[in-house]
Amino acid sequence: MTVTMVYFAWVRERIGTGEERVDPPASVTTIAELVDWLALSSPGHAAAFADPARLRAALDQAFVPIDTPIAGAREIALFPPVTGG
């Protein structure tokens, strides 16, 4: 299953890109597991995902909890807590 990852703020800066296509193995079933798997792919990913408690997620552009299943997702976003307004 390939999915488009999008990153914002310091997550994007640490990874070094705002968007990438990834192909996680079938054993990865939730966003939290996807984060753990992605953390292995580069030192930048490891730095961005070192503290999962500071991450928020969106699945197909809607905010979701980090333990949400990824089955059928086209786009998953990872970012820090929002600070608009």
Partner: protein, 149 residues
Amino acid sequence: MIRIIVQTAPIDLLAEITQAETAGERGAGAVATFTGLVRADDGVETLELEHYPGATEAALTKVATGAVERWGLSAVTIVHRVGPMHPGERIVFVAAASAHRAASLEACAYLIDRLKTDAPFWKRETRGTQASWVEARDADKDAAARWTS
């Protein structure tokens, strides 16, 4: 009528307020507005706003729709700037229009409280050569939570 704008251009207050006053079939009897400005906290020189195109507009539309349903508003406007800006500049504008003042005043507070926690924006401050991402505040979460009951 719901008007959601995410823009890099400065916010034109008079145009937005006039629009909120006259939107809807019968117009409004009251318009409450909130304007947020960039503060020069601890020597901040530049504030840069990042957003999630598409998802940000969808989240703002959801907040606005919630306010229209709860208070029966004739119009809601949310304008949020993105990109670099400087102290004193307008960063966000919200307006709630209704027949009478109570609904518009309450809805205006609701809109800005919920916008802060529900819409994907991220602030980065620059002081001299030092840039840092702004941390989310518990006080904002508490302010948004008071509307859930």
